[in-house]
């Protein structure tokens, strides 16, 4: 059963169309790059999969069900902004995730926070923007979810932090799950992807495995992206 499936999905904001007639399927055990330029509809698609937006048309299912209470227990979502309450301490944040998610692996999260040098009594507010993003990622990747939806996990951070984030994702995700990484920084993520979905102006323009792109088109994902989205 696909972990994420959309058919004819459409989302509008007033007169602007963010997604139009999007159909795609993501199977478990894959790391998928949701790639497209800024404003192409990547975040909208991820927010629809999380039930944070309501579609105007079409259908979206996560683990066989419409986004909602059931699917939230199976999806681990990293938003593109800091959503964790900044007044909380690291310990309170661990309590929070542990209370609400049965699949939360507290020991793994504690180990990663310790590796980052974050003290349990330190509040999120006291941390730098980069550290907050790392803490949020640690919480998301410490879940044994069936689908990880990571919205711009490496956007706006330095190259060293990018490496840390990607190694945290690869080192901690549940191998039976699917990981969707939305980004426009193709070269950094290309090495970890099994599959890519190109999205442009609210339309899916390509869904293919990385191996097929290399074999059939004889170019890297980054090169193909530059060709497809040439200005």
């Amino acid at each position: 059963m696909p972990v994420l499936e959309c058919k004819g999905l459409t989302k509008r904001f007033g007169r602007a169309t963010a997604l139009e007639d999007v159909s795609l399927t993501i199977e478990p055990g894959r790391i998928v790059g949701l790639l497209g330029p800024n404003g192409s509809g990547k975040t909208t698609l991820i927010k629809l999969a999380n039930g944070l937006l309501t579609p105007e048309g079409g259908y979206i299912a996560v683990c066989g069900a419409a986004p909602g209470r059931e699917s939230h227990g199976q999806v681990s979502y990293l938003p593109e902004r800091t959503a964790i309450p900044t007044w909380m301490t690291a310990r309170q944040l661990l309590d929070f995730y542990g209370d609400f998610y049965q699949d939360f692996r507290r020991e793994a999260a504690e180990e990663m926070l310790d590796h980052l040098g974050i003290l349990p009594q330190q509040t999120i507010k006291q941390m730098s923007k980069g550290t907050r993003e790392k803490v949020q990622l640690v919480m998301v990747m410490s879940r044994a979810a069936k689908l990880y939806l990571l919205d711009e996990p490496i956007g706006g951070v330095d190259p060293a932090t990018r490496d840390y984030i990607l190694s945290t994702i690869i080192g901690n995700y549940n191998p039976e799950a699917a990981v969707v990484i939305s980004t426009h920084l193709i070269a950094d993520v290309e090495k970890v992807l099994d599959e890519v979905i190109f999205i442009n102006q609210g339309h899916v323009v390509l869904q293919s495995t990385v191996d097929d792109i290399r074999e059939e088109k004889g170019m890297s994902v980054d090169e193909l992206f530059r060709e497809v989205f040439k200005c």
Binding site: G51, T54, Y77, W87, D99, F100
Partner: protein, 272 residues
């Protein structure tokens, strides 16, 4: 899951309300001391200090009430409709549980604030023999209760329960008016807060207008005369009927706002 939401909601709000209660207590103790000879005119500086402490107590009372109100709105807005909403609305909990957690915690803080103000006022009034007088008063009250007939005691208990329900529902209805307006306004793509204000006043106008039309309609039906020409209730029963009607009205009023809030959060959630 509601229990867990309540735990974290109390944790988030307690860090603000509890220090305010502490300030209330400290200024109450200060005001008590100010009333014990600090302002008897012996020293100008002590006089001014006494006045300032009493003023601080007044500000602390206003501040506590204001903060309970601000927190009720701010927690719903910031925790559900701003950035934190990305975390909250992806938890495996229902929209109903989110709304009830906010309602219950707000109502608890409103009640706790009133109790804290009463306790602080008792601290201000405390002087030699005060406790003894208070205990005497309590004893007279208990003795009075023992002299009550069974029917009076029964009615009194029911009144208390009805009154408590009425108070809780009043707080719930009060909070839900704001929640409904915020949820509806934030379903829009742009100018979310402006839309929320418009929704608030729009809903008030529609309800006032609809309520007035309903009253006029009911008046024309002569319900009062029809009911009381066949029924002559005792004063005790009449009070019960009045309280139950008020409870019924508040349930209906709250249900309308609750339905609007859940409709927009469930069907038209549009986080920025």
């Amino acid at each position: 899951m509601l229990r867990k939401l309540l735990k974290h909601e109390f944790r988030a709000t307690g860090r603000i309300m509890l220090p305010i209660y502490l300030i209330l207590l400290v200024t109450a103790v200060g005001s008590n001391l100010a009333g014990r000879g600090m302002m008897d005119g012996r020293s100008e500086a002590l006089n001014i200090l006494g006045v300032l402490i009493i003023m601080a107590f007044g500000f602390a009372i206003c501040g506590a009430l204001l903060m309970a109100f601000v927190l009720m709105i701010q927690r719903f807005y910031k925790n559900l409709l701003q950035d934190e909403g990305y975390l909250m609305f992806t938890l495996p909990v229902s929209v109903h549980q989110h709304i009830w957690s906010k309602l219950i915690v707000s109502a608890v803080w409103f009640i706790a604030t009133v109790l804290a103000i009463i306790a602080a006022s008792l601290v201000v009034a405390y002087q030699g023999g005060f406790l003894r007088e208070l205990l005497d008063l309590l004893r007279y009250f208990l003795e009075g209760l023992q002299k009550l007939k069974i029917s009076e005691a029964f009615n009194g208990t029911i009144y208390l329960v009805e009154f408590a329900i009425l108070m809780f529902l009043s707080l719930v209805a009060f909070s839900l008016q704001f929640y409904a307006a915020l949820a509806a306004g934030h379903s829009q793509a742009n100018h979310k807060m402006l839309w929320s204000v418009a929704w608030f006043f729009g809903m008030q106008f529609v309800l006032q207008f609809g309520g007035s039309l309903l009253m006029v309609g009911l008046n024309k039906l002569d319900l009062y005369d029809r009911l009381f020409s066949h029924w002559d209730p005792t004063p005790a029963v009449a009070i019960h009927v009045g309280l139950l009607m008020a409870i019924g009205f508040l349930i209906l009023y709250s249900a309308i706002f609750y339905a609007i809030t859940t409709f927009f959060l469930k069907k038209h959630l549009n986080l920025e």
